[in-house]
Symmetry: D2
C-alpha cells in the first residue's frame, strides 16, 4: 500500500483527497494535517467521513514540518500539500524528495520563471532551486515526465480546464493565439472553506460576477503551458466568474481560426475567403489528441460541455463550435474543480508516479443530478 500524508486536509481540496484515498485500493492515509483543527477528529470537521476515516488531525504547521523531514521521508511514500501559496516551498527539500514523493496543489512549482511567480503572487519564492525538478502535473499532456519525477506541481482548476480545452488547436497552430480569450465560470468551492463574508450563502446565491479581471493568478500558468504547446510565448485574456453552484469549472474560449490555405489570413478574413477550417476537421484534431484518453471526452457535434455531467468525477468534457460569420472557433470545456481540478488529478498523478492503474480510486462515473 502507498502510504500517503495530506497537509491541509481540512480545506475542501485536502478533504477531497482524503475522501478519495479512503476508498483507494492501493493507498492508505498515514496522517491528515491541519493547522486550524490540529488534534480534532477529521470526521468531526467533515461529517461525511464519520465512521469512514478515523483519524485525528496532526498539526501540519510548516515550521514544524521542516524539523521532521527525515521522519516524513521515512513514514510516507507520498505527501499531498493542499495549502496556500508559499507553504509547500517553505519546507520541501531535496532530502525530503529523496525519500518521498510530493504532490503540491498550490502554485509554488507551477511556473518555471520565478520572476513571473513573484510578480503575480506578490511574494518571494521559498525554494527556487527546486522548480526545475518539478513536473507540471497535467496528466494527459505530461504523463511521461510525471512518471519520473518526485515533485508534482498539480495544476489549478481553471488552468486544467482552460489548457485542455484549447490544447489541440494551439498545438497544431490552427488558431491565432493572440486572439485567444478565455472566459470561465467557477463554482464556489474553488474559493475554499475560509470564513469570508464574500463567500457566505446569501452573498453568492442568486448572483453572478466576474472577479480578478485582468489579474487572476491562473493567467500566467495557462500562458506558460499553452505557450509550450504553441512553441512560443503567449499573452492571453482570462476572466473568471463566480456562479452559484458548489462545484464545476466551465471554460468558454474564443480564438480566430487560421486559414487553411497558408495565406495567414485569420478569422473573418479567412471566412470570407472560404478558407476556414471545417468544424469536423477540428473535432478530428481533438480526437487525435484525446481519443485514447480515458478521462477526456470529446463530445459529439451538437453537445456542449456541462458541469453537471462531470460532477463528482475525474472527467473533462470538451467540444468546439466554428462560427462561419466571425471566423472564430468557440472551444468549451467542463470539469469538477475539486476533482480533475484538484484532488482526483492529484491522485491520478500519484497513480502515474507509482506505476499503478491510472484510474485506480478515481474512476467514478459522474453523478447527476
Amino acid at each position: 500500500m502507498i502510504r500517503a500524508g495530506v497537509i491541509g486536509a481540512t480545506g475542501y481540496a485536502g478533504a477531497e483527497i482524503i475522501r478519495l484515498l479512503s476508498r483507494h485500493p492501493e493507498a492508505e492515509i498515514k496522517w491528515a494535517g491541519s493547522r486550524s483543527f490540529a488534534g480534532q477528529s477529521l470526521s468531526d470537521i467533515y461529517g461525511n467521513m464519520f465512521e469512514i476515516v478515523d483519524l485525528d488531525c496532526i498539526d501540519d504547521d510548516t515550521d514544524r514540518m521542516k524539523n521532521e523531514i527525515a521522519k516524513l521521508a521515512k513514514d510516507t511514500d507520498v505527501i499531498f500539500t493542499a495549502t496556500p501559496q508559499g507553504a509547500c516551498s517553505s519546507f520541501v527539500t531535496k532530502e525530503l524528495l529523496a525519500g518521498t514523493k510530493v504532490i503540491d496543489l498550490s502554485a509554488d512549482f507551477r511556473l518555471t520563471d520565478v520572476a513571473v511567480y513573484e510578480k503575480w503572487y506578490k511574494m518571494k519564492h521559498n525554494a527556487p532551486e527546486l522548480i526545475k525538478d518539478a513536473v507540471y502535473g497535467l496528466c494527459e499532456i505530461n504523463r511521461d515526465d510525471i512518471r519520473k519525477t518526485q515533485l508534482i506541481a498539480n495544476p489549478g482548476c481553471f488552468t486544467t480546464c482552460s489548457i485542455l480545452t484549447a490544447y489541440p488547436l494551439v498545438r497544431e497552430g490552427l488558431i491565432d493565439t493572440d486572439t485567444l480569450i478565455i472566459d470561465a465560470l467557477s463554482g464556489v468551492s474553488g474559493a475554499g472553506r475560509g470564513a469570508k463574508t464574500a463567500n457566505l450563502y446569501c452573498e453568492v446565491n442568486e448572483n453572478a460576477k466576474a472577479y480578478g479581471v485582468t489579474t487572476h493568478r491562473h493567467t500566467p500558468e495557462i500562458e506558460e503551458q499553452l505557450g509550450k504547446a504553441a512553441g512560443r510565448k503567449l499573452t492571453l485574456q482570462f476572466t473568471p466568474h463566480l456562479v452559484p453552484m458548489n462545484r464545476g469549472i466551465l471554460a468558454t474560449e474564443y480564438a480566430s481560426l487560421v486559414a487553411t490555405d497558408g495565406s495567414g489570413r485569420i478569422g473573418r478574413a479567412a471566412a470570407e475567403a472560404h478558407v476556414l477550417p471545417k468544424e469536423a476537421d477540428l473535432r478530428a484534431v481533438y480526437e487525435k489528441y484525446y481519443g485514447a484518453e480515458h478521462f477526456i471526452r470529446v463530445l459529439p457535434d451538437g453537445k456542449v460541455p456541462e458541469t453537471r455531467f462531470v460532477e463528482g468525477s475525474n472527467y473533462v468534457d470538451v467540444n468546439i463550435k466554428v462560427d462561419e460569420r466571425t471566423g472564430r472557433v468557440i472551444m468549451m470545456g467542463a470539469l469538477d474543480n475539486l476533482m480533475k481540478g484538484a484532488a482526483s488529478q492529484a491522485v491520478q498523478n500519484m497513480n502515474i508516479m507509482f506505476g499503478i492503474r491510472e484510474d485506480a480510486g478515481i474512476d467514478m462515473a459522474p453523478d447527476f443530478p
Copy 2:
C-alpha cells in the same frame, strides 16, 4: 456476472441504478429500458454516462414485456423496475419470478393489504396474488427474508428514512406511537424527471412548501412497517416538504416518551415525575440495533443528521434529542433519496439476494461539498 435489466432507466432513479451497475464489480447491464426514449442512446439522455455506458434504450412498454416473459427470465438474473405505480405488477408473473429476480422500486408490492394500496393509490392492484411472495426490501431490518425471495418491494425514500429513524424506539416500546409525527424534507429529484411546471427551476428555487398534507402515499407504508415493529396497527402523521436542493431526505420525528417506571405516564407527565428516559440510554438503544450496521451511522451527542453528509452514498445518519421540558424525543434521520432512498438500496438488495458482499458497488464515501 449478474446480468441485470433496468425498466424505466431514464428516470432519475433508473439512471442512478444504471450508474451504479456500470461500476459494480459483479454485475453487468444487459439492457436499459425506456418508453419515452426507446431506440436512443442512453448517454444521449444522460450526458454523464457518455463513454461509460454504451447502450441504446430498448422499448420497455409493459404490454410488450408481458409477451416476452420467457426471454426476460432467460436473459437476465435480475430486473429492476423503476417505473410508476402499476407498471411492475402488470407484467410480473410467477413464471418470470421462477427464472429471474425482480426488484421493484414502485409501491406495487410494498403494502400487504390490497385494500390499503387501492385506497391510497386510487388504482386497482394488478397482481394481488404476488404480494405475499414479496419482501419489503429495507435491508437492515429484513435482511434474512431478502436473501430468500425472488421479489423485492424496494422502499420509498421518505419511508426508508422515516422508518429507520424511529425503528429502535418503536421496537422497544419507548415512545407512545399515537403521538408520533413525522415531518420530512425532500430534495427535488424525488419528484422525477417529468416535464412539469411545478418542478421548473424557478418554481422550486428559493421556495419551501409542504405538499400531500395528510394524504401522502408513503404514509401507509410507514405505518405498516413501524406497526410491525410495534406489534400493533399504527396511525401516524406524516408531512413532506419540498426544499430547493437536488438530493436528500431529512426526517424530523416527534413522539412523547414513555415513563421508565412502568406507570404508563407519557411526555410531560413523565418529565414532571422525573421518570423520563435518559438521552444516553436511548442512544444506546440505537447502537444496539445499528451499531453493527455498515450503512447506518448513529451520530454522537450534539451532532444532527445533515443531508450534505450522506449525499452520493448509501449511508443513513440518525440521532436523537430528548426534550426535558416537553417529555418528547426528537428523532432525526438523513439519507440521499436517489441512493439509499432508491437506487443504492435496490443494489444493496440485489447484493443480499445474490449472496455477494452487501456493499459491493455501493460503498462510496459521501461527497461533500
Copy 3:
C-alpha cells in the same frame, strides 16, 4: 418627515430597513450606524444601494451612544436597533424614550419575564426596568398598544410566523395546546452576515438540517405570546431547520383538535366519535381574525403557503388542513424573514406609532420568481 436612525445598519435586517426607508414616502434616513464599517460608505458595503442611499456609516458603538442620549433624542423621531441581544438594552433609557421612539429588532424587550430571558439567552438583562414599557410589536395582534408606546420589541422571524399561524385556533380554544408542535424552515439570511464557516455557500447549499433542537431562543417568545392568547402558560415544541434559500420562513404546526361536543376528547378520540371540528369552520375562524388584515392572507382550500409567494413583501400566508385520521389540524404559515420577520414589520410598527398609513413604504407585491 419622520427622521430615522438605524443602529446595526450593515447587518441584513438593518440594511433591509435602510432599503425600505430609502423609498418610504414619509420617512428619511438621518443616519446609519455600524461598528464594523464605521466611516465607510453604506453603498460600498451594500452595492444595491449605490446612488440610492448616499451615507457614510457612523460608529454606533453602544458605549458611545450612551453618551449622546440627548442628541439622539433631539435628532431623530425613531431609532431602529438591528443589533445582537444586549445592545439595545445597554443604552436605551427613559430619557431617550421621552424624546424618540425605539424599535428594537433584538430580543431584549420581547419577554416580560427577566428570568426567562436570562435563562434562554444566558446573559444578564441590562434594563429590566424598561421591559414593562415595551410593547410586543406583532402588529395585527397588538395594534392598539403599539400606537401608544415609545418602545417596540419587534418580534423574531420564526416567532411572527409561528404565532400568526396558530393564533386564531389557540385564541378560540380549538386545539389542545399541550400537543402543539412547531416545525419550521428558514432561509439562510436569518443567520446574519457574520463570516462563519457554517454559513458559507458550500456548507449550506444542497443541505438541510435541524438546529437548536429543543433549545432555540424563539421558543419562550412563542410560548409567551400564544400563552397570552390561550389565557394560560404554555409549553410547546419548536424545531427550526435551515434550508438552502436566501429568504423565507415556513412553519408547519401540529396540534390535536378539541371535540366540538364539549366532551373534552381530543385528536383521534374526537375523530372516532365524529365530533371533530370541520376544516371549513376552522378556516372561518381564521377569516374572523384575519379577514380584514391587509398583510395576512388566509389561503383558499387546497392551497399551501409557500415562501416564494410572500418573498420581498410584508405578507404572511396561512392555511390549515384537518386530518380526519389522526384528529389533528396542520397549520401552515409563510413569510419573508427579512421583511415581515424583521424589517418591514419594524416599519409597519413605525407607521402605526406615527399614525400614518400602516402600509406606507411596505406595500410591495411579493416578487416571484
Copy 4:
C-alpha cells in the same frame, strides 16, 4: 389612469408586468390575457398576487384578438404583448395603433431588416409594413423617438445588457468593433415558464453551460443597435450561458482598444506603443453618456457589476477594466432580466410614451439578499 391590457400575462415577463402595474400610481390593469389559463384566476396561477390582483384571465388567442381590434383600441390605452415570436405581428394593425399604444416584448419589431428576422427566427414576418413605425425601446438611447411612437419593440434581456455595456465606447469609436466578443450569463427565468425537462430544477441546479453558441437570436439585435452607434454594420460574437439562479443577466464584453494617437494601432500593439487609452478616461466616457441617467449606474473603479445588486430593480450596473498586457478593455454589465430586461423596461417605455414620470412604478431599490 392609463388603461393597460397584457397579452401573455401568465408567462414570467407578463406576470411581472402585472405585478408592476398592480402598484403603478398612474396605471390600471384592464385585462390580463392567457391562452393556457383562460378563465382562471390570475392569482390561482401566480400565488404571489393573491388578494392583490383580482382578475380572471381572458383568452388572448391572437386569432380572436384580430377580430376585436376596434374594441381593443377603445378599451385600452396601451397593450403589452409578452408573447412568443410571431404573435404580436399577427394581430397588430394600423387601425389598432391608431387607437392604442402597443409595447411588444417579443422580437417581432426589433429588427429593421425583415430578411435578418426571417433568417434568425426561421419564420415569416407577419407585418413587415409596420416595422418602420416601431421604435426600439431602449429607453436611455432612444428616449426621444419613444415619446412619439405608438409601437415599441421592447428589447431582449441579453440585448439590453449587452448594448448598454458597450454603447459609449462603440459610439465614441474607442474600440475595434471587429474584436468585440460578448460572453453573457443568464438566470433561468429567461427561459420562461414552459414545462420543459431542460428547465427542471435538477437539470439546471448545480450546472453551467453555454447554449445557442454562434446562433443565439439576440445576436442580430445587438449587431443592429451597436452598428447604429458605430455608424457601420457590425458582426460580433455573442455567447450566452445558463447558470443556476432565478434572475439576472451578466455581460462580460471584450474588445481591443484603439490607440489614442490616431495611428490605428489596436490592442497589444497600442499597448506596446504606450498609446492605450487610460481606464479613467474611458470611465469618464461612460459618465458622459450615463451620468445623468437614473437607471444606469457607472460603478466606481474596483467594483464589478453583480446581478445580486440589481435584482428586483430597473437598474443596470456597468463598469470597465483596461488590460495593459493585452490592450483590451473588459466591459461588464448587470441587470435583472425580468425587470430592465423585460417588464420594468416595458413600463419605463410606457411612462415615456405617456409623458409621465419615467420612474413611476418602477423605482424600487434592488433587494439584496
